[in-house]
Symmetry: C2
Subunit: 291 residues, 2 copies
C-alpha cells in the first residue's frame, strides 16, 4: 500500500496522514459516493461517463457535489501525473462530511473529497486465456427500491458478503440474483452471456449499476452488427449459455468459463467473447486517440 | 460536538485526532458493526443485551470481534466515567480495519474499535405529552436476504434516505415498509400499535433490528398480562389503530399520534402507551438496581 498517491479536498497528503474524522458520515453510515476511473496510455478513460455516474449517484442520495466535472477531472489528472504510475487506478470518493452522530444529513455542512491513485490493477493472463469462475451468491442483491444498486455509494456490505462467499470457494467473482431470482450483476462487474449467437445482459431495471464498460460493450456489439439484448434472465439462462463474460473498468471484457459446478459452453472462452475483447480494446484506443 | 469523549482501540484520543485511515474498510465500504448503549442513573443499561447483539451483527457479516464482552463493557464504563456526563450515550463501533482497496475482507488483519461518549440524547417533553409524527418513507427497508436489517452495521444509507424524507415534512421518524408492503421499523426505532386492547409489533422475520427496548417492552407486556402479538401487518393496521408508539434506547417508549395525514386514535397518547411508558421505566429502574 506504499504506492498510493492521495489527496483530500485537493491537498496532497501522505498515506500516514490520509485519515477522516470518525464524525464523517462517510465513516459512520457509509454516506458517500465514489467512482473508479482507469488510465489508458496515461490518459483517463471514459472520464466523462464516470463523472456523469458520480453525479447520478450523488443526486440519488441527495448529496451536493463540491466540485464541477472539470475540477474533478483536473484533480484526477493531476493525481495520476503525480503518482508517476505508467497506468493508474484512480478512485474518487465524496462523503457527506462531518456532522452530528445522527443519521440526518442536516448537520453535515461540508463534503469530504478523497482521490486515491494506485498502479492499475493487473488481472492474470490465465483469466483471459482460460476464463474465470463465478460463484452464485446466497446473499441477494439489494433491491432498487431499498439501497439502490444504481448508486455507487459507501454502502457496499452487500457486495462484501458476496465476494467473501466467492473467495471461500476459489471463484473470481460472485454472481448475485435479485429477490425475484433474476440475474443482476457481480460484486464489481456486470455480467453477459451468449446463446445462439445473441449477446444477453441483465437490464438496468432489475437493479444493477449502469456499468461504463457494460454500456461500451453494448455499443460495440451494435457497431459490429452483433445482436445484443437486455432483459430479465433466470440463472438457468447463463448456465445453459454457449459463452459468458464479465465487464468492469479494470477487467475490460473477462471470459467466464465456470459457474459453480457447471462448465459454460465447452469450458473455454468462446469466439463472441474473444471478438468483443478485441473490439472493446479497439474502442478504448480510439476513445483515447480522439480524447 | 466538543462534549465528545473518544477512544480508539482503548486509547484516549482528542476529537481533533479521532480519525481513521481512508483505507479502513469501515470507511471505504461501511464494513463495520456498532451498538449504542445508554446509562441510567450512571450505569450502563442492558449492556449484556447490546453486547449480545454486537456479537450477532459481527457474526452476521463474518467480522471477528477484537474484545470480549467483559472488555467491551469495561471500556464503555471507563469512557462514561471519563466523560463526566451525568448520563451518557455510548457508541461502540468495530470496523473491519485497514486493508487493500478491494471489497474482499482478506487483507484486513486488525479491526478498529472506537468508543464515543456524549451526553445522553434528550427528546423534548412535547413528544411524550403530545406524541410524535411518523412519515411513511417511499424508500423500502432493505431485505433480510440482502443487507440484513438484523445486523447493525455501517451500511445505514437506507435509513439515512428515509429519515431525510421524514425531516423534510417535519416528521419525527420515518416508517419503513418491506418489499411485500408490510410494516418493518423506523430508522432508529421499532414500531408498535394498539388495537382493541392488544399490542402489536412487526415480527423479526419481516426484516428488522431486534431492538433491545422492543424486547423489553414485549417482556413488560407479558408481565402485566397485557396481550401482545408479533406478526406481519400492512400499514392500514397502524393507521386504523387506537394508539401507536416507537421504542429505542434513547427514546424509551415514545407515543406516536400522527402518521402522514392521519391522526392515530383520538390524536393523543393513549392509556396503553402511557401504562407501558411507566412500566418500561420501572423495569429499567429494577434492572439498574439489581445490575
Amino acid at each position: 500500500m506504499s504506492s498510493l498517491t492521495i489527496s483530500i479536498d485537493c491537498a496532497d497528503v501522505a498515506l500516514e496522514n490520509a485519515k477522516v474524522s470518525i464524525l464523517d458520515h462517510g465513516f459512520l453510515f457509509g454516506d458517500s459516493v465514489y467512482e473508479v476511473v482507469r488510465t489508458w496510455k496515461g490518459k483517463l478513460l471514459f472520464a466523462e461517463e464516470h463523472l456523469a455516474r458520480l453525479n447520478n449517484s450523488a443526486a440519488g442520495i441527495g448529496l451536493p457535489l463540491p466540485y464541477s466535472n472539470v475540477e474533478f477531472r483536473a484533480e484526477m489528472e493531476r493525481m495520476h501525473k503525480r503518482s508517476k504510475n505508467p497506468e493508474s487506478y484512480v478512485r474518487v470518493i465524496v462523503t457527506r462530511g462531518e456532522g452530528e452522530i445522527d443519521l440526518s444529513t442536516a448537520s453535515c455542512k461540508r463534503q469530504t473529497t478523497i482521490v486515491i491513485t494506485k498502479p492499475l490493477t493487473v488481472w492474470s493472463d490465465a483469466l483471459y486465456k482460460e476464463g474465470g469462475k463465478l460463484h452464485t451468491a446466497s446473499v441477494q442483491r439489494n433491491s432498487p427500491r431499498a439501497t439502490n444498486p444504481a448508486f455507487k455509494t459507501g454502502n457496499y456490505l452487500n457486495n462484501v458478503m458476496a465476494i467473501d462467499e466467492a473467495k471461500k470457494v476459489g471463484a473470481t467473482e460472485a454472481l448475485m440474483l435479485s429477490a425475484s431470482g433474476h440475474l443482476t450483476e457481480c460484486t464489481t462487474s456486470n455480467v453477459f452471456f451468449v446463446k445462439g449467437g445473441v449477446v444477453f445482459t441483465p437490464e438496468l431495471a432489475v437493479g444493477i449499476l449502469s456499468g461504463v464498460t457494460r454500456a461500451k460493450v453494448v455499443q460495440v456489439c451494435k457497431e459490429l452488427g452483433q445482436k445484443v439484448k437486455e432483459g430479465l434472465y433466470p440463472p438457468a439462462d447463463i448456465l445453459g449459455a454457449d459463452e459468458a463474460f464479465i465487464t468492469s473498468t479494470t477487467r475490460d471484457v473477462m471470459p467466464i468459463t465456470r459457474i459453480d459446478d457447471h462448465a459454460i459452453g465447452n469450458g473455454c472462452p468462446g469466439p463472441v467473447t474473444q471478438k468483443l475483447i478485441g473490439a472493446y480494446r479497439a474502442l478504448c484506443e480510439k476513445a483515447i486517440a480522439h480524447g
